[in-house]
Symmetry: D3
Subunit: 191 residues, 6 copies
């Protein structure tokens, strides 16, 4: 009986059997993607180990991010990766917040060709401040499976919901505000 060798939960081929296709994806990263499918006005196209099996154990992935006018990639973290990003089209207001106790917010307006780094695990975002034009970025992440945690979705959109006692005290709002937030529709911007 024969079965696949698994590393990190993904199949690892015998080196004798690898093909160029294991390291390739016709990803169409040159094409604009729909930014209207969610409320935040952005779309992350991530090329990770689920999409290119040959990336397994190699510690890197790549993404195209489309931003509608005034769209944003909302505050989120990557639990297993640092991100480096460059702007292909438009302008982006980007930033991250350092950890406790300082919670310093470091931000920058990026123009085409600029590069910015979001250190591993920190809360960060990108926002397209232009009300008329879309923006596009290419980002790379230091893991073949970086993960993403959209803060608002994890906090107010979890399934099942976190107790409103917990969230009301944490965010200094009333429980009915938490309940209202938890009743909204939360969907992340990756597809």
């Amino acid at each position: 009986q024969s079965f696949a060798v698994l590393v990190n939960g993904f199949v690892c081929k015998d080196p004798k059997d690898v093909k160029a296709e294991d390291f390739f994806l016709a990803a169409k990263l040159d094409m604009p993607r729909d930014t209207k499918a969610n409320k935040v006005g952005s779309n992350v196209t991530l090329i990770n180990v689920m999409r290119i099996p040959g990336l397994n154990t190699l510690g890197i992935s790549l993404a195209r991010i489309d931003y509608a006018p005034l769209g944003e990639n909302p505050p989120h973290t990557h639990p297993r990766a640092t991100e480096i990003l460059t702007v292909l089209e438009g302008t982006l207001y980007v930033g991250f917040v350092t950890s406790n106790p300082d919670n310093k917010f470091l931000s920058k307006v990026l123009n085409k060709g600029d590069v910015f780094v979001f250190p591993e695990g920190l809360v960060h975002f990108q926002f397209n401040p232009n009300p008329y034009k879309p923006a596009v970025a290419i980002a790379a992440l230091s893991s073949q499976n970086p993960g993403a945690i959209t803060i608002a979705n994890a906090v107010f959109g979890s399934k099942p919901a976190i107790s409103d006692d917990v969230l009301a005290k944490a965010f200094q709002v009333e429980k009915k505000t938490v309940d209202w937030l938890q009743a909204q529709f939360w969907a992340d911007n990756q597809n």
Copy 2:
């Protein structure tokens, strides 16, 4: 001229010069700590490399956490560590949320002597559901400098503030709500 050898930004001693004191702290982890100094009703006493220099490069730290009645250690992440926790006194309602796209909330009520694990980088919290009695936990983290990001503080209490355009869209609330939140006093619960 002589100067200290630095690794990870901390002093590393020559093995010939180390003393027991470099690996020791009279931390009084047996003593209750004040849980009234912040709005969330908890107090994290973290013993990390800043407090025991000998921990440098060794990848572990230890904490005592005190919870007031109805107090909580609010939703937060550790960018560089997994946490394992046991309850010394009282009862805790604990949980964490998995990353996108599922944002599954896994929770449990812990009694004295129970153990729970919060995987690296995920949003998690502990809440004392008892309105009369305090609770106490001991937690260990898989880094000598795990870092902590209290979600509400990083998002609404950063210095300077994140643009309310960004946060209003991310959290599906009005900008004036964001402005009100940003005007509150945010302080983390570690000291």
Copy 3:
């Protein structure tokens, strides 16, 4: 045909299938354990990846250690972990020995609430110097499977026995002394 994904020899679940129980153990770490089952008068209750499957790959574990009056956790090493310990009850005389050529012995008497660090791979012990009262500690280790090597047991209690020629020369004793030692009953203090 379907089978489990294995990492480090342990099952890794698909993130979609994880449950809170995978990260939880009703470990009763608040309860005293029997310290009379072995000759050294101590009992290590280790919560590692064998007991909480969700710990796999996460690099941490937790233990409660009970000490009888004059009991000890005898000289041992952890081949894959640093240990950080705090005293919950009683008093402990603890120490570790640095590697060749100095073999410096660093020791300390710990009272309730004190914290001490045993660096990865070094020979260390804890001893309860009080002839009347038990002691209790909580320890954390920087591996989900730290391993433990009780020195006396590995050297004199191995199965089969190490040649007495080797041990007589190494320990500067006669072979009959080695033979006598090897005939004793050696059992470690973890269960």
Copy 4:
């Protein structure tokens, strides 16, 4: 006296002192670069830790690569990084060779938007097969300081030269051929 903290040979700032500029570069990655300065007809603009100090320890870097018509990024290795690449403009014929004993050559023609992975340490190249039009790619590497070894330059352009006895036998050519090659001008394509 005060001096900088160094990690990996680069300065690490105290978290309290970091600024957005430490994580930013006005890199002009949107602008075509000169591909005529070297014989191979390409230009690699690498944004690594030497250019963005905040990348230190974070394990990632980013590059823009310009290719003249029929230009190439010649066979090379990165001793410390895997590379993932996407084509922004034009077409690229790319490939890598597996290690001994098979030395399998895996290749692909990439169009705009396609993605390809070059595993850590393997010999790889990109070639623009179009005789009229330039090509452009964005690549990410899994190290803040990936290093690059252009094979021909390392072998025939080292300073001082490797003995022609060694190279003649290794490459199955006459020593005068080696001598002629070593007399050429070798310069890498990064600047």
Copy 5:
């Protein structure tokens, strides 16, 4: 149904089932090996995880290298290992080339008992300058599966061949020279 646990693609045994044979090989590293089976006049006998299963995850391997008079271990890289070597018999002229842009060639003539280090991923070689006597070395590598890329074989002996357009431009030679080289017989020196 039972099956083996796999890590890195190799079988990992349950610790209860390991035997001394899993960590042993009657490798005959004391015996001269044939150096006439290939054109470069050397023979690398590598003891890695394929030959001693117990090496899996342990990060080291060992090799004996035999050199004919004027034989060489031609320029090659190890994508996953540093090498440290000592000369058992004869004399070796050894060296490595640093990465771009300097491509510095560091070399040394080694006599019996001398030790030299080849850093991970760099192009290096050993050459026996003695026209009458063989040489022998023992080398250790910092991976249980270091891999080896013989530069000439990877570049000119890949299967299928790399386009001669690419190689002619990279090596500054005519395409017919590339074609002639690709028509030679390339075989590595490990068996």
Copy 6:
């Protein structure tokens, strides 16, 4: 003012300044070493980062071990390295003991040219069973600074001595036996 860059407590040179000498040592590993300077009849000549600065961060070291007739490299551990060994001259009886609870002793008699592996952190030894002839081995270790802990020396020869209460109970001997052992002269076999 200028000063050296330090990594792991050792100097790291700027790549532009490295010389072949930084990666070289005239170690005379071909020469027999004195095995009479200590009571165990062996001599370990370790080539680590203290002796070849260029090894820093590269994760490997090399040793020659000489054994007198009936000499041994007594039971010891390496806290940071796995060891792979081959016999150059003579015969060796070698073994290691697995960790708790099994403490299985795996052993083998090695002849010239045989290879054996001692996994990281486990107690192991080599013994020359021949009463007339010396033995010689070459060993490699998976760290540039593996460390060594000779068990008997760490336990009975530490400075200051470990309390005889602790050792008497751990080794099931009387305190006067411990006291006698602690009064012996303990010196390790590396120089």
